[in-house]
């Protein structure tokens, strides 16, 4: 590696400054503020704040609303992860077969990646819209009255499907790459060894893509927990009756709409800890456990 020696002690810092500034202003500073705020309580008029120690945290753990949000988040994250990964794997297996039988199709692979995210956003809105959506209409035909504005289950289903849909193209690409890395001869050997397609999938293919699967598992959970704010905000806004009020949305809602900065701060700190935990698990686990 080539090493550049700076004579001037100031220059390296100047060169680094923009990046450091961005990190500081948009990440470290707000994070520190959130931590600080989580220990404060503001009075009703927002005039002065007092240091209250861990009180905001204890209060959260006592709040049925927050516990509900934890539960909603868990259900939401697990559903989104299972749905998006399951569906992507299904697509990937189909595409993997196609690629193996005819190389010419490989270029078509770029398609879902380029198109899916753009289409997805518009598509689910059209599909689920209670007044003009196709799905409510179809459900209505079979006697089901779809309404995610007032029905808790419908609302959850909507945000789960919308969020999962957005993640499919990403998962799909990783799964296809994982499947492609399995030598054809392994499946052929298994076929000769008397394993049918389904058995082959579960005893050979799935174990061999487990590193990919685990990686995606963490990525999808993180996505569902933190990156789905826009989906919730543009559809259900956490409702009806808190049914889709996931943690990250509640942070926003309590902080910006409810102006309860202390509680919001404590909630963000908890979220931060979860991200850190997930990241640690990912690095530890991927490197040690998921290998063969």
């Amino acid at each position: 590696m080539k090493r550049t020696i700076f004579r001037n002690q100031l220059l390296p810092w100047l060169l680094l400054a923009p990046q450091l500034a961005i990190t500081f202003i948009f990440f470290i500073w707000p994070a520190a503020q959130a931590v600080w705020q989580s220990f404060l309580r503001e009075d009703a008029f927002g005039m002065k704040s007092t240091f209250v120690g861990m009180a905001n945290y204890w209060r959260l753990l006592d709040s049925p609303e927050y516990l509900n949000s934890l539960q909603v988040t868990a259900v939401f994250a697990v559903s989104v992860t299972i749905l998006s990964m399951g569906f992507s794997l299904l697509l990937a297996v189909a595409v993997d077969r196609m690629i193996r039988s005819a190389q010419t199709y490989t270029t078509l692979l770029v398609w879902p990646y380029a198109v899916a995210p753009a289409v997805a956003g518009i598509l689910w809105w059209f599909i689920f819209n209670p007044t003009i959506g196709i799905l409510p209409y179809l459900l209505d035909q079979v006697g089901y009255n779809w309404n995610h504005i007032s029905d808790k289950g419908d609302a959850m289903l909507l945000v789960v499907i919308a969020s999962a849909w957005k993640q499919i193209s990403y998962n799909f690409l990783f799964f296809v790459a994982g499947l492609q890395s399995i030598p054809a001869s392994l499946r052929e050997a298994a076929a000769i060894d008397g394993a049918g397609p389904v058995k082959r999938f579960f005893t050979i293919t799935l174990p061999l893509i487990s590193p990919t699967t685990f990686f995606l598992l963490v990525v999808n959970i993180v996505y569902a927990m933190f990156d789905t704010f826009a989906v919730i905000d543009s559809t259900t806004e956490g409702g009806p009756a808190q049914a889709t009020n996931i943690m990250v949305y509640k942070v926003y809602f309590d902080g910006f709409v409810g102006q309860n900065l202390g509680s919001s701060g404590a909630q963000s700190v908890i979220l931060m800890l979860i991200v850190i935990a997930l990241t640690v698990i990912q690095f530890r686990w991927v490197e040690k456990k998921v290998e063969y």
């Binding site: 001869s185 052929e188 298994a190 076929a191 000769i192 060894d193 008397g194 061999l208």
Partner: protein, 335 residues
Amino acid sequence: MASITLENVGKVYPGGTRAIGDVNIDIADGEFIVLVGPSGCGKSTLLRMVAGLESITDGTVRIADRVVNEIEPADRDIAMVFQNYALYPHMSVRQNLEYGLKNRGTKRDEIDRRVAEAAGILQLEPYLDRKPRALSGGQRQRVAMGRAIVREPAAFLFDEPLSNLDAKLRVAMRLEIKELQKRLRTTSLYVTHDQLEAMTLADRLVVLNMGKVEQIGTPLEVYRRPASAFVAGFIGSPAMNLIPARAVPHLPGSAHAGLLGIRPEDMDITADGPIVLRINAVEELGAQRLVHGLVGGEAFTVTAPSDADLGEVLRLSVPTQALHRFDAESGKRLD
């Protein structure tokens, strides 16, 4: 155990590549047949058609007198050893050996008996609980063999199983495979591009060129009476000299306008030999030397005593029985 019959077998890949022409091979029960030919001649394709991994576009393949064209690989009662071994990387050696038996619902004690037996034969006992990645190339190769043995199939199919090993190990494994096959007497179809490997292993050789069978015969038959100029040039090392007959007008049969084949080791150095060769390159073999030069403007090779040196002129005579004649057009043997 079983015979294998290929009758007018052909293969056209989707996309139009014709990989196999009109192939007829009869493999007797317990026989060790080696398919040999240059890279790309269709050996793997043919083997994989027998295995059921490629569809058969023309003709019929029979295993144990049963037409298997439409039968799944699993139901053909064959076992295959792949070039890259195709061991299941997430399973231990024992699990690799057991997999095919478990899938077939073999009883636990029978599985244990067979795995123990195969592990014994192949000296795999110390490694049964290791994953394939913790094994050397030779050990992996044995596991691949073991996976075939435990199944006790009607036939073994091998696709260049030794080509990923270093030269020394390759020779050792070659012997082991030969002994193993003698002992088990399982019908075997073995693919290689290495003519030496083919010669040492085969009961009978099938020489393949551009998807067509050039010759079928025992290694000695093929070596002594190659059926075509292609076989003559492919089987035997150093390769047979193939020169236009008119390049050596003093030899019997040279009036004919075809190709003459003479093995480098079949010539005598005599004072009045009709062929004159000026040595312009020497390869040291230890006991002997391989000397190269030009005869009638064509590259020519002779094995010579170790004192033959660069620049020297040799006069060579050829015993009539060492002369092979081939048609210039078709390359077919002419007698």
